[in-house]
Symmetry: C2
Subunit: 189 residues, 2 copies
Amino acid sequence: MALRHAVLAALLDGEYSGYQLAKGFDIGVANFWHALPQQLYAELAKLEREGLVEGREVVQETRPNKRLFRVTAAGRAELEAFAEAPSKPSFIRDDLLVKVQAADRIGTTAVIEQLEERAVAAEAKIQLLGALLRQLRGDADEEEFLRRGERIGGYLTCLRGLTFEQEHRDWCRRIAGILRERQAGHVER
Amino acid sequence: MALRHAVLAALLDGEYSGYQLAKGFDIGVANFWHALPQQLYAELAKLEREGLVEGREVVQETRPNKRLFRVTAAGRAELEAFAEAPSKPSFIRDDLLVKVQAADRIGTTAVIEQLEERAVAAEAKIQLLGALLRQLRGDADEEEFLRRGERIGGYLTCLRGLTFEQEHRDWCRRIAGILRERQAGHVER
DNA sequence: AGAGTCATGTAAGCTGTTACATGATTCG
DNA sequence: CGAATCATGTAACAGCTTACATGACTCT
């Protein structure tokens, strides 16, 4: 299983609705898992049927009602079992890498553009993660926070996300530069 | 679509059978896409029905016969269209990150072990990719090769894989260290 | 007035994983 | 003699994406 554990981990921090998770999956937890709203609604319904989360209806006057979920004891046990089971290997799965792989055989112009767009997007995410990290650690410096902070899980995963995005940005810029120079050299077909 | 383009990109380098692709997906192309043999056989059959690849039977005496595939003109056109279409954003999707996220709420011992195993696996992959890169660029140094080499696509994607694995290894070691120290500090439940 | 946000879902289709099945050859 | 390699698939299931559907409220 997959998404279910990401959802359970996200819900350890408090109560969230499907909608809130769908938003939040773009920051915090989202560094390492993404999901569309539809999938989250479906997964929450399934987790509730299995008794791993509990939902309660929150009536709102000016907006549609929502259902907030929290992890049950059974859900926590499920997460613990998951943590002890072997992990599947991680890998990058990325359209752009496929395109770069083929870049010397097919046209490079579009690929260069996409690399540059990606670099910009990565930079934006770096800023976002930097702000999130500062916010999570508060006044403390990083070392101090990691030694004594209460909730460091999210911080640690954001650190991974940050270096990933930095490498991603640097690679995109470098490859775009290399391909551009090669275009300038031999005449582009 | 997804796997189909990774397969087409891999087949640009020459003729391969499903079995060979399944092996090769663990090196080269595999830095950014992985697939099980079953999926490759299915995808190759589909690509052939659609006329994007062509297979030819190679009769072998001492081993089972095999079918070697190469990309057709239509397949190349398909790849070119793919390269010009916008790419989906890339993200890490990793069980271990889910576990680290929850690590301060559930038991950490198993997670620390897995982080250390991962670091070892990452190190092995780093060695492998380093060797592959040296082999691809031959005698030339990297800058020279990237300026004038014929087939640099695979090299560029391996570079991405290499830094990814290095960051992955470093992160695993650092997080394992942090979690271990915290275990030593406050008594483990 | 139109776009965007809050809020939740269903249904269909595509992609990916796991289990099962076969059979000869080579290596230790 | 047993395990691994070469070589190809089928079938069932799980997971993910895309399209469709609804409806009130808020901001420009």
